[in-house]
């Protein structure tokens, strides 16, 4: 049932308390939080740094503008509505199309129909602060709905699969692919029962997955093998993630990326408090990788150099995946 603390220590596992005190408090000054907590700012910064982000269709700032969303999405078949200060994927509405018969109804990624009024209510909830980290008033973003690359089609149930890269002091330290499930309602969030699959940092190939803190080999809904998938443009993905450090200046950063079929990898959001389940997905402790980065840290290294170092230093422990493949 329980492991001994000593065992976890040896496996290089990072705990929540250590993450909060030694990483977030030390490396992430609070004044920098708005850069990642407010997605409008994040998008702006990423664009200025020349990184790809989903196109912003519009922002709704207050209750009076809620009805304006109809104009914003006028002529668009698909779009995503999300709170600017949301956390954990809460409050995100993915609209993939319009109803054929009723023009004022929209189809969600889950296939359910939703009326304009219901969307407006959702937006006003967002603006009212229901999903915001602080509980204060918030903004609602309406942006491009990613047309995701078919590479993960076999292993996701609706929704948008994304790639989370943990960047420590500018070095990509660990990555995982987050695959939506029926239970996660199309959301790529492990808290909501999405599957997380570890990624071999040097090859960009998926390893085994984790569901609810349990190691799994197959996607629970599609039954396809989670492991052995090659992520396209892996080097570009890692370099973009590494550049997230220059953009946000956060020393402990989670960069969430999606791969669009046409537009390639783009940054969805960044996170100053990335969770720790990524360790289970990779069957590897984060603390040991972080310790290695501290050893080889070079403040003058470019994102390209840091990516090269990360790919060299952190190949997957093949024995691990063999163990779970059996």
């Amino acid at each position: 049932m329980f492991a001994r603390p000593q065992q976890l220590r040896e496996a290089g596992v990072l705990g929540l308390n250590e993450r909060n005190t030694d990483f977030i408090m030390r490396l992430n000054p609070r004044s920098l939080y708005p850069r990642v907590d407010d997605k409008v700012i994040t998008k702006d910064l990423a664009l200025k740094a020349g990184m790809a982000v989903p196109e912003l269709y519009g922002v709704i700032f207050n209750q009076g503008e809620v009805k304006d969303f109809v104009e914003i999405v006028e002529g668009r078949e698909s779009f995503v509505i999300k709170p600017a200060q949301g956390s954990g994927g809460d409050g995100i509405l993915v609209v993939t199309g319009r109803s054929k018969r009723k023009r004022d109804s929209f189809r969600l990624s889950s296939g359910m129909l939703i009326s304009t009024g219901e969307i407006a209510h959702h937006i006003s909830n967002i603006v009212g602060g229901q999903y915001s980290l602080s509980g204060n008033r918030d903004k609602a973003l309406i942006e491009y709905c990613v047309n995701f690359d078919p590479v993960f089609a076999e292993v996701s149930y609706q929704g948008v699969p994304d790639i989370r890269v943990i960047v420590y002091r500018g070095y990509p330290a660990m990555a995982m692919v987050r695959l939506p499930t029926r239970a996660s309602d199309g959301k790529a969030n492990l808290h909501q029962r999405a599957v997380g699959a570890g990624v071999d940092m040097s090859l960009g190939e998926t390893l085994t997955g984790v569901l609810d803190n349990e190691v799994v080999d197959e996607h629970p809904d599609t039954g396809a093998l989670v492991s052995g998938l090659q992520i396209p443009k892996w080097n570009f993905i890692l370099e973009t993630a590494a550049r997230g450090f220059e953009v946000t200046e956060l020393g402990y950063l989670g960069v969430d990326m999606v791969i669009d079929r046409d537009l390639g990898p783009m940054i969805l959001e960044m996170n100053a408090r990335p969770g720790l389940n990524i360790q289970i997905a990779n069957c590897t402790g984060l603390a040991s990788r972080v310790a290695r980065i501290d050893e080889i840290f070079d403040s003058r290294a470019t994102p390209e150099q840091r990516t090269r170092v990360a790919r060299r230093e952190f190949p997957a422990d093949r024995q691990t995946s063999i163990h779970f493949d059996r």
Binding site: L16, N17, D90
Partner: protein, 506 residues
């Protein structure tokens, strides 16, 4: 670097808290446990006499140095008399005076004492007494006895013991017989012994007092012999020569002066009555501190009005609840709604008692949740919706109270003590989690909150802990130190040990 500051601060807080605590406990005698009672003895001396025609002055010797006892308070009851306390040659004296009085008079002097070992040392070393002037033929007799006893003794104590043996011999030698020919009372007997001891240059005096036990209507003061051996006073039973003092012997006065002296009155009677009471040790410690003028008492919660005390006895337990919260969240890793919601729920449990508290809380949240889901259909804005939930919670509380009253279950009335705003927020948070993460997550976090609340309730309700914090509020500094330390705890949480167990199975 920062780590050191944290440890330093925590150590400082703990040291300050613990040293104030130790001072109050060890020096000021504040009790560690509740209802620790100390026996308090009240000795009342009643003086009655027939008044003469003129002015009246009454002098009563009262306790000055009381080995083994500490005075709690004293007072006098006398109608129309002027009262004063003076230091006379034989120690403290109470003096009453009146210009004229009619008929029989009764004056009371009352003193309350309690046992205190620390009082034994508070006496002074006397000078060697001058050789007394004694007339013949007694002088020769005394000299002979002193020479004889000296021959058969080694030190002051054995000298005294040997002298007392001879003086109490049923067939005394002629010298003793001569000396005792005038001694009819015990006091006179002891007085002649002090004279002999003075001739041998040994400081000695008579002590008069009572052995305190239970309730005594008429306690007779008995005379004891006190001899100084150069280091300390020793007590001898003058009738047996044994060196001891009766248990709980309160020394009332010393020397050979009369206990009472009434000028202008006749037919004087003095009686002593003893009564044992049990007083809360806190009260005694406070009185004592007040007498000594120590400042610590100014900050004691016991000096507040009773009602405020009741409020603080509850409020002071909140830091304990917060500490439990810190431990359960950061060291165990239990998920709960809101940072301090469980602590406030635990406070409400204090009034409702645990089982009813859990039932009422669950019923309230369940009803609130179902109504919250109905409200969801109305698509209200956030703040109006929260307010609606709050109002619904208040109405539900009212209904539960009314219903349980109808059914004769008075405990149901205590539902009113739940923090309604906190419950409304809990319902709102729970419904959002329910929608976003599913019923399982909402239930898990709800159950987590309840578990934390129950554990916090158990600790916040420990009577000894409550007493300890209330009597020694400085212990909150220690709690603060612990919380600060926990703030730098970077180890694994207990639940992480099971969560990350897969990583160790390679």
């Amino acid at each position: 670097m920062k780590q050191q500051y944290v440890f330093g601060l925590a150590a400082l807080l703990a040291i300050v808290g613990l040293s104030v605590f130790a001072y109050k406990w060890q020096v000021l005698d504040f009790p560690l446990t509740r209802n620790q009672e100390t026996s308090v003895w009240t000795i009342e001396s009643s003086i009655s006499f027939d008044s003469g025609p003129g002015s009246i002055k009454v002098n009563l010797l009262i306790p000055t140095l009381t080995p083994g006892f500490r005075m709690l308070n004293e007072n006098s009851v006398s109608r129309g008399y002027g009262f004063s306390l003076n230091y006379g040659s034989g120690g403290r004296e109470a003096q009453w005076a009146i210009r004229r009085a009619d008929g029989q008079q009764t004056i009371y002097y009352r003193i309350s004492v309690y046992e205190d070992e620390g009082m034994n040392q508070s006496d002074t070393t006397p000078p060697f007494p001058p050789p007394p002037v004694i007339n013949e033929p007694f002088k020769t007799a005394v000299d002979v006895i002193v020479a004889d006893v000296k021959e058969q003794s080694a030190d002051t104590a054995s000298f005294t013991a040997e002298l007392l043996r001879r003086m109490n011999d049923p067939s005394p030698d002629p010298n003793v017989e001569l000396l005792l020919s005038n001694a009819t009372t015990r006091a006179e007997f002891v007085e002649s012994i002090t004279t002999i001891l003075a001739s041998a240059r040994i400081p000695a005096r008579m002590v008069h007092g009572t052995a305190l036990q239970g309730r005594q209507r008429n306690a007779e003061p008995v005379t004891w012999l006190e001899v100084h051996d150069g280091d300390q006073w020793r007590y001898f039973n003058p009738m047996t020569g044994e060196e001891n003092l009766p248990e709980r012997f309160l020394v009332w006065w010393r020397g050979n002066e009369p206990l009472i002296n009434v000028e202008g009155g006749s037919n004087v009677q003095v009686g002593f009555a003893v009564q044992e009471n049990h007083l809360d040790a806190v009260a005694i410690a406070e009185t004592q501190v007040a007498q000594q003028g120590a400042r610590a008492i100014d900050f004691s919660l016991y000096s507040l009005p009773i009602q405020t005390q009741a409020v603080y006895s509850v409020l002071l337990m909140i830091p304990i609840g917060a500490l439990i919260m810190v431990i359960l969240r950061n060291m165990v890793g239990i998920d709960a709604f809101g940072t301090f919601m469980p602590v406030l729920i635990a406070l409400a449990f204090r009034e409702t008692k645990l089982v009813w508290g859990v039932i009422l809380f669950s019923v309230l949240v369940a009803l609130g949740l179902s109504i919250r889901f109905l409200l969801d259909r109305l698509r209200l804005l956030l703040v109006p919706r929260l307010s609606a939930v709050l109002i619904v919670v208040v109405i539900l509380m009212l209904l539960i109270s009314l219903m349980s009253h109808r059914l004769g279950m008075e405990t149901g009335l205590s539902v009113a003590l739940f923090p309604m705003v906190i419950i409304a927020m809990t319902i709102e948070r729970m419904s959002v989690v329910w929608e976003e993460r599913g019923a399982a997550d909402a239930m898990r976090a709800g159950a987590g909150s309840l578990i934390v609340a129950i554990i916090a309730y158990v600790f916040m309700g420990l009577p000894w802990l409550e007493h300890l914090i209330f009597t020694f509020p400085e212990l909150l500094l220690v709690v603060l130190a612990l919380v600060v330390l926990a703030g730098r705890y970077t180890g694994y949480r207990l639940l992480e040990l099971s969560r990350f167990k897969v990583l160790t199975e390679q």
